[in-house]
């Protein structure tokens, strides 16, 4: 009888919550329904938001210092020539399905990612000049490259190159992405495409990197739901349907900031800035002075205030300010100076000779073809740009196109101006845009010197030396006025005050859910 009484009392105590314990559940709002969510196959940033907590990576990057710290690899060595990386793996790590993690598993994963049959859309290319993986012994593995590739550790610290259970991959085949198994602090519980994705706490997790504050996750469950329509995001937060919401529209963020129930966590995303590439091979933009006139004649601050309510900073150059190797000296170029823009155009013979408000030269009006995509407030930005440029006497033909068509236009060089933005924590992100052979060389630049800096930056492992190369690239891009940078990307996360300890990795997109707790 007494035993029963004690039991009841204990049960009551537990139920009333006077014993502090981990637990609880949050709903995390994602902003686009990913096309596919296998990190080895697919490329979206969205998939990494949930899956960063399902998987572990060989190394992690400390957001404070930018240094790489041990993850599934306890330590590593890089050969003198930068081609061979030897990783010494942590012991006693188990995948969620009980499969032991070892060197064989690492090789299995890298073989999978680099297999042409998998048709990886991102992970494969993050490995650069990858050659092969060798198992040295059960807990030592060697990655061999064809040539040095400095971004390798950065790549290996991302979910796209995370370690998946070989047993599960073999068991599920094509359907693996619906049944993912990692070693991370949360277990992939259920995914209903377009509906929700649910993660459950992994109670056995004990091998987290030093950047995690807790040994195991505090939350019992995290449910991800999709809020593709921006207008539905802040209502979902305010109605309590979601506890965290990514990419809240700026005007809603301003309002939520003043609401004591919520806070806005604005996370600057490293990578390229949002920039309009100027086609240097197509007249009149083949003239440096005309490109410079566009830069001087654009009031970017006004655009950011109008469209983004000053929630993101004006971009000075091709790299976002929070990116490794960003060179702040690019901010000295092109302050807003419409008088100077006009003077430059006059100097080059662009005058309004027929009085129609549009400048002309040799009977040709100063007309620019601007192609843009429908995302990221680009249509609104374009409207403001057109208004500003019309003031300068430039006529703009703007057209919105879909991404595949934009790629084709960019490749064929049919545009004068076209925007793009790309996330990434390594400055090597510049190579695809400004190397003469880059896949998105929309400025149509062909500068052997810059090609050389970009290749040296990719091969050099010493950070300072790398940064020197990238400084040169950034300054050259602005001196040559290859792009019109607009803004650094900032992800405005709306967060309920009951959610504590939300932090993001270096990429800015991916939350470390292990440390999230609920306020009582």
């Amino acid at each position: 009888m007494r035993r029963l009484l004690i039991f009841l009392l204990l049960a009551a105590a537990l139920m009333t919550g006077c014993t502090p314990r981990p637990g609880g559940r949050i709903v995390y709002g994602l902003t686009l329904a990913p096309t596919g969510i296998d990190p080895h196959i697919n490329a979206s940033a969205e998939l990494g938001i949930p899956l960063t907590s399902v998987y572990d990576t060989l190394v992690y990057q400390d957001p404070k210092t930018g240094e790489f710290v041990p993850g599934l690899a306890q330590k590593w060595e890089v050969s003198e020539d930068g081609r061979v990386y030897t990783f010494y793996l942590r012991r006693g790590v188990k995948f969620h399905d009980g499969t032991p993690f070892n060197a064989e598993a690492v090789r299995f994963n890298l073989d999978r990612i680099t297999s042409p049959d998998l048709a990886s859309q991102k992970a494969r290319f993050m490995l650069g000049p990858y050659e092969r993986t060798e198992v040295v012994d059960e807990y030592t593995v060697r990655i061999v490259l064809k040539e040095p590739f400095a971004p390798l550790l950065d790549s290996l610290s991302q979910v796209y190159l995370a370690m998946a259970s070989p047993t599960a991959v073999q068991k599920w085949g094509q359907e693996y992405q619906m049944h993912q198994v990692g070693t991370g602090p949360f277990i992939f519980a259920e995914y209903v495409p377009g509906g929700h994705l649910r993660l459950r706490r992994n109670p056995d997790y004990a091998w987290g990197p030093s950047v995690y504050q807790h040994k195991t996750a505090r939350l019992e469950e995290v449910e991800f739901r999709f809020f593709t329509d921006p207008a539905t995001r802040s209502p979902a937060l305010e109605s309590g349907e979601a506890d965290v919401m990514g990419e809240v529209p700026p005007q809603d963020a301003v309002r939520l900031k003043d609401d004591p129930r919520f806070r806005i966590e604005a996370v600057a995303i490293p990578g390229s800035s949002l920039m309009f590439f100027m086609n240097t091979t197509r007249p009149p933009l083949d003239d440096l002075a005309v490109r410079q006139a566009i830069l001087y004649g654009t009031d970017r601050q006004a655009i950011l205030s109008a469209v983004f309510k000053d929630t993101s900073p004006v971009a000075c150059g091709p790299l976002a300010a929070v990116t490794l190797s960003y060179d702040p000296s690019v901010c000295q170029y092109y302050p807003y100076d419409p008088a100077r823009a006009r003077a430059l155009l006059e100097e080059r013979g662009w005058k309004d000779s027929d009085g129609d408000g549009i400048r002309d030269k040799d009977g040709q009006p100063l007309t620019l073809d601007l192609y843009l995509m429908g995302w990221g407030y680009l249509p609104t930005i374009a409207e403001l740009l057109i208004a500003q440029w019309t003031e300068l006497g430039i006529r703009v033909n703007a057209q919105t196109v879909r991404y595949p068509e934009a790629l084709q236009i960019g490749r064929e060089g049919r545009h004068h101006l076209m925007p793009f933005q790309s996330s990434g924590s390594d400055p090597d992100v510049l190579r695809q845009f400004f190397h003469s052979q880059g896949s998105m060389n929309w400025s149509k630049v062909n500068d052997p010197e810059m090609d050389g800096w970009l290749m040296e930056g990719m091969r050099t492992s010493d950070r300072q030396q790398r940064s020197a190369f990238y400084s040169q690239v950034q300054r050259r891009v602005m001196e040559q006025a290859l792009v019109l940078p607009i803004r650094d990307y900032v992800n405005l996360n709306g967060v309920s005050q009951r959610v504590q300890g939300l932090r993001f990795d270096v990429r800015g997109w991916f939350p470390w859910l292990i440390d999230v707790t609920l306020a009582q």
Binding site: G36, N42, G195, F226, T228, Y403, Q408, Q437
Partner: protein, 310 residues
């Protein structure tokens, strides 16, 4: 009967081939290179993109691609999604339930609303009830779903806050999309029901039945509704294609997961196997429902039996 079956089958094969060919041609005409779309932003070099293009078979002459595609289809192989690396058949099956659920719910709403409006209009012919009912039907007929959908969201989600505006899950998420799509379906149904019932009411057998003292409800069910139902069902069968197409748009408006969203995504990413697969499944669904509707029609309307027997 055998000849009829054979003709139906040949028609079906022709429709499927046309749908497959149209999907193929349409995607050929759409600008943008699939391999580039998949890889350009991931830091892949132009050589790597070219390699992927070859791997996807996009470098082959277009007639070769077309024949290979038809040969795969003939074997029942819809292929693998270039975007997700999963079987297209499986992806379509997974989403089909969402679209069928919406199409069925919208079909019910459309039939209930359409038949109700049509009956009202017919029974109160040439009164203000008739005018009003037919006006509502005309609005339903002529309002595009993306517009009526937004209006319903404004009213029920943002203003009254009764129902969720978007998403997918329980029955509450189904109400607004089903109303939107059902409303636009109700227009043609209401018009047809009105014409049919008005016509039947003029028939001598109605007067005869009344004269024999057959109870009103019986006249209504047996003598009016049953013969009127036949053409209406045939119409619904024909409207099913519209229903599927409308479901695609409706799903986009309400951010519902289903074939519609899969289609949009596949077109945006130039995921050709998925686009083609959906076109084919749509054609197949259309064929099946029109066959079903024809059979129902024949079974329900005694006049058709007679003409066949003669």
């Amino acid at each position: 009967m055998f000849g009829y079956g054979l003709r139906r089958l040949l028609e079906a094969v022709l429709v499927l081939w046309l749908a497959a060919t149209l999907a193929f041609v349409a995607m050929q005409l759409t600008p943008g290179d699939p391999a580039e779309t998949l890889l350009a932003a991931s830091g892949a070099s132009p050589e790597e993109i070219a390699r992927r293009r070859a791997q996807l078979g996009l470098n082959d002459p277009i007639p070769v691609q077309y024949v290979r595609y038809l040969a795969d289809l003939a074997r029942g192989d819809l292929g693998t999604s270039w975007l997700q690396g999963r079987s297209v058949g499986r992806m379509i099956l997974e989403r089909l339930s969402g679209t069928v659920e919406l199409a069925l719910a919208a079909g019910l709403v459309g039939i209930a609303l359409g038949v109700g409006l049509g009956l009202l209009a017919a029974l109160y012919r040439d009164t203000w009830v008739d005018t009003l009912a037919m006006a509502v039907a005309a609005v339903g007929l002529s309002t595009p779903v993306f517009w009526s959908g937004l209006l319903l969201i404004l009213l029920f989600s943002l203003h009254l806050r009764w129902l969720p505006s978007s998403g997918w899950g329980d029955a509450r998420h189904l109400v607004l999309p089903a109303l939107t799509l059902g409303f636009s379906l109700s227009g043609p149904i209401a018009r047809l029901v009105r014409t049919q019932v008005v016509e039947i009411l003029r028939m001598p057998f109605i007067l005869a039945a009344q004269g024999r003292g057959v109870p009103l409800w019986r006249i209504f069910l047996i003598h009016i509704l049953r013969p009127a139902a036949g053409p209406v069902i045939a119409l619904i069968g024909l409207q099913f294609g519209f229903l599927l197409g409308g479901a695609v748009v409706t799903e986009s408006v309400f951010a519902r997961e289903g074939l519609g969203r899969l289609t949009v995504q596949a077109i945006l990413w130039r995921d050709l196997p998925v686009v083609r697969g959906i076109a084919l499944v749509g054609a197949l669904a259309y064929l099946l429902t029109s066959l079903l509707a024809d059979l129902c029609h024949a079974w329900l309307d005694p006049r058709l039996h007679q003409s066949e027997e003669r």
